[in-house]
């Protein structure tokens, strides 16, 4: 077997492993999941989170679907895997409060050099839709009132599988193109039970359920430029409509939802011997989906982020750049006709685990965010950690 074939084989093995891990379900981390199509879950790594980035224009090696042009700068085969648990405290009108926590895996991907450029496959999160709610009532079955409990459970998410290719154009420029496929499913189940909780009665539970599979496409193009001490990047993501196709035994109907074009720009400037400043923004107007929603309100998903990296820091004798950031981004869906934003302050660091011949073969990036999401009737305060592992040279 030739060396090339062995590499292909290893890459395929890695891809299978990544796909296998990605089958882990994504659980909800916000009560805003119950609004519209859910909450967006950006496919960002630990470094982007720590710098408050929208996932574009970062210096160094980066592999995120939001920055197709950055793929070209990977240079060698690279894999990335991100885990992100969060802990949410919420308070709502009526003195209702509580906590929610969960873990998710917003990004997994590999890139491999081919045809003078870099090809990649990435699996990223997009919309988180899981929530549940229960309504208690009463009905008369002929022998007096009987307690009813309507438990509704929605379980699902929209993810993206992205195939990309990027290459450098001269010493300073790079460009990339990617095709994304929306995937995932949504399982909505309503169960009405009769009688007091925990009592098994004669009247069976009524179940009305539907399962929809999500499909759609997106095309992304992006480019970046390396100027003296400055890196700038921009990308545009043009989606088709998001289609929800009902399974054969689902009584509910097929639906389609308009998705917004995402415009992203970002830049990182070297403002000192070891100080990098990063800024990025995203424009995404979800309001075109409003007409297709049965409930909830669609708004703007636009936002911006700013961050700074102190790149000379070291930990355990290894490079460990410190990062701080702030970001503010709109939630695309809300319960009321209002603008709801997520604001976070973040901090984190990177840690080079293995560096050979000046090339980082393994690195960790960790970020901790403290943020809040506020609407007129719901407020969430959360901690979110993001840990990503970047490996190269397989």
């Amino acid at each position: 077997m030739s060396r090339f074939m062995r590499r292909i084989s290893r890459a395929a093995t890695m891809a299978v492993a990544v796909l296998a891990v990605s089958s882990v379900s994504i659980h909800g981390q916000s009560l805003f999941n119950a609004a519209g199509l859910g909450t967006t879950v950006e496919a960002l790594d630990g470094r982007a989170r720590a710098l408050g980035s929208m996932g574009i224009g970062l210096n160094g090696r980066s592999m995120m679907p939001s920055d197709p042009g950055a793929l070209a700068r990977l240079g060698i085969s690279t894999g990335v895997m991100v885990a992100s648990p969060s802990w949410v405290d919420y308070s709502a009108a009526g003195d209702r409060s509580g906590t929610v926590q969960g873990n998710r895996f917003p990004l997994m991907g590999i890139g491999y050099p081919i045809l003078g450029g870099m090809a990649s496959i990435q699996i990223g999160s997009f919309l988180d839709q899981t929530y549940e709610v229960t309504r208690v009532g009463e009905t008369d079955l002929g022998d007096g009132p009987v307690r009813t409990s309507d438990a509704f459970d929605q379980d699902g998410a929209v993810s993206t599988v992205t195939l990309g290719f990027a290459r450098t154009l001269g010493e300073r420029f790079s460009a990339g193109l990617s095709i994304g496929r929306y995937a995932g499913s949504l399982d909505r189940t309503l169960e009405r039970t009769y009688g007091e909780e925990g009592e098994a009665g004669n009247v069976d539970t009524y179940v009305e359920a539907g399962v929809w599979s999500w499909t759609g496409w997106s095309l992304s193009a992006g480019g970046s430029a390396e100027l003296d001490g400055l890196r700038v990047a921009a990308s545009v993501q043009v989606p088709t409509q998001l289609s929800g196709t009902a399974s054969e035994d689902t009584r509910g109907s097929d639906r389609t939802f308009a998705l917004p074009v995402h415009l992203r720009v970002g830049a990182t400037a070297n403002v000192g011997p070891s100080i990098l400043v990063h800024g990025s923004a995203v424009l995404a107007d979800w309001s075109s989906a409003q007409d297709q929603l049965n409930g909830g309100f669609a708004g703007s998903g636009s936002g911006f982020g700013l961050g700074v990296e102190l790149s000379r820091a070291r930990l355990f004798g290894r490079d460990a750049p410190l990062r701080f950031g702030f970001r503010r981004v709109g939630l695309p869906f809300a319960f009321e006709d209002e603008s709801v934003t997520e604001r976070t302050f973040s901090g984190g660091f990177g840690l080079t685990l293995n560096e050979t011949a000046g090339v980082v073969l393994a690195a960790l990036d960790l970020s901790i965010e403290r943020g809040q999401r506020n609407s007129s009737n719901l407020s969430e305060q959360f901690w979110r950690a993001t840990l990503s592992l970047l490996t190269s040279g397989f």
């Binding site: 590499r7 290893r10 659980h27 909800g28 009560l31 999941n33 119950a34 160094g60 700068r73 240079g75 060698i76 885990a83 969060s86 509580g98 906590t99 929610v100 926590q101 969960g102 873990n103 050099p113 929530y131 549940e132 709610v133 309504r135 079955l141 009813t148 309507d150 509704f152 459970d153 379980d155 450098t168 010493e171 909505r188 309503l190 009405r192 009769y194 069976d204 009524y206 009305e208 539907g210 929809w212 390396e226 689902t250 509910g252 109907s253 639906r255 049965n294 409930g295 909830g296 685990l353 293995n354 090339v359 073969l361 393994a362 960790l364 960790l366 950690a385 840990l387 592992l389 040279g393």
Partner: protein, 456 residues
């Protein structure tokens, strides 16, 4: 910052680079393990209010008349034998009609007993001299109708009889062998003894036997051997739980001592007259041999012309299996013929008939009632307090019947059998009003009807 991939290719050709520096990946793996650990407890967000729920279903109770869901009601008898019950019945002109006697076969007598000899040592003694004994009958004081003393008579059967097929008129009633008693009701018997049983004193009646009478039942190969016990006082019905023969014997090893041995019965049955005729217009369940009632069930696919239902649901409504939250056949009890009125609870069962054309011999499916003890009904419902509505739930069957197949994809039988959980269980049986009567059976449905769940 740009990495020259060509210059690096020689290093990345093998994972040995990573293997040589295992600390990095190990630390990364540890980091991920920590992340998984701290975030592994998943909690699903709970929406704030009902707005996040899809359309609410409504619940409606519907009563479907007999003609709209059932047909072809038929009563079959003859399931099992009185012998299967293992108990006896005694009656004399009970409720002005019923006569019943119990026939028993006595088991073999003990031939060996361990006794103390004259030296005080215990040893087996096979040379026993039977001096006489007692026939002891145990009665069920709850099922028996008498509250005062009654006179009982014990006789020795003189004709060959078959305990499985014996009836009031026939001693043997098998295929190609039908032999009537010389005298209806167990033939001519040799009177053995009479006694009085008073339930206030105890639950046993004792007949004293002499050695000749005891010896007459000693031959277990004699097909005519057996005891017949009857009640002489009219107007009562007794339930005999069991009977034994207590033998007084003298062991050869210690002739001065009388020991008591016990011989149990090895079979019993009861015969009675008159045998009830199938009801022309009702439902009958139970008895010995048992009665079953079968009916064809057809859950309506379209609901219409039901005022209460159509007031809340747009009619006509096409019923789907998932909308049936509860389904039950509702029967109205009526008084059973006095001679066969239950004195204890009747336990009803409902099972699918797998091949109606093969009735009365069609096999039955598994019970549709969740409880292994069936649907219990108090005896008063068939005597002093008739007109009680008895629901026999079969929700799962109703869904399958509407769907046409069960969960395994097999066709759902169209016919149901109403029967006793244990067949036969008692000479008594349950009676219900039949079709075309004022209290005809009907189908009670609790329906939950909701809009389809749609995308947000």
């Amino acid at each position: 910052m740009r990495v020259n991939s060509a210059s690096f290719r020689w290093k990345s050709g093998s994972l040995s680079v990573l293997v040589a520096h295992r600390k990095g990946p190990a630390a990364a793996a540890l980091g991920f393990a920590i992340m998984f650990g701290v975030g592994c407890q998943e909690q699903t967000p709970v929406a704030l209010n009902d707005d996040a729920l899809p359309g609410a279903p409504i619940t409606v109770t519907v009563e479907i008349p007999w003609s709209a869901f059932a047909s072809n009601l038929e009563v079959f008898g003859g399931y099992g034998s009185a012998e299967d019950i293992g108990q006896g019945v005694l009656a004399e002109d009970f409720a002005g009609t019923l006569d019943a006697r119990t026939l028993l076969r006595i088991g073999s007598y003990p031939r060996v007993a361990t006794v103390q000899d004259t030296t005080g040592a215990s040893r087996p003694d096979s040379t026993l001299t039977i001096l006489g004994g007692r026939f002891v009958a145990f009665f069920d004081t709850i099922e028996s109708t008498n509250s005062g003393a009654v006179t009982l008579a014990l006789g020795a059967i003189t004709e060959e009889w078959d305990q499985t097929t014996a009836s009031w008129d026939f001693a043997v009633d098998t295929i190609n062998d039908e032999r009537p008693w010389s005298e209806a009701g167990g033939g001519v018997v040799l009177p053995v003894a009479q006694t009085v049983w008073d339930p206030l004193v105890g639950d046993t009646a004792v007949f004293v036997l002499d050695s000749a009478e005891v010896a007459a039942w000693a031959d277990t190969t004699d097909l005519s051997a057996g005891a017949r016990i009857e009640i002489l006082d009219s107007g009562e019905r007794l339930s005999l739980s069991k009977a034994v023969v207590r033998l007084d014997a003298r062991p050869s090893s210690n002739p001065d001592t009388i020991i008591e041995l016990t011989a149990v019965t090895r079979g019993s049955t009861f015969i009675y007259s008159p045998f009830p005729q199938p009801p022309p217009d009702g439902v009958r369940i139970g008895g010995a041999p048992s009665w079953r009632t079968i009916l064809d069930v057809n859950i309506p696919e379209i609901l219409d012309n039901l005022p209460d239902f159509c007031a809340v649901v747009r009619c006509p409504h096409e019923l789907s299996p998932g909308e049936i939250s509860y389904a039950a056949l509702v029967l109205t009890s009526r008084a059973t013929e006095a001679a066969f009125q239950p004195t204890d609870s009747i336990r009803l069962d409902v099972r699918p008939v797998l091949n109606r054309a093969a009735m009365p011999k069609s096999p039955l499916g598994v019970s549709l009632i969740v409880s292994p003890f069936g649907r219990s009904v108090a005896p008063e419902a068939f005597g002093s307090e008739p007109g009680l509505e008895i629901e026999i739930p079969f929700t799962g069957y109703a869904r399958d019947r509407l769907r046409g197949t069960d969960a395994s994809g097999n066709p759902t039988p169209e016919t149901l059998a109403l029967l006793s959980v244990i067949e036969p269980f008692s000479i008594t049986f349950a009676s219900f009003d039949g079709p075309q009567s004022a209290a005809e059976p009907f189908l009670r449905l609790v329906l939950t009807i909701g809009p389809p769940v749609e995308l947000p």
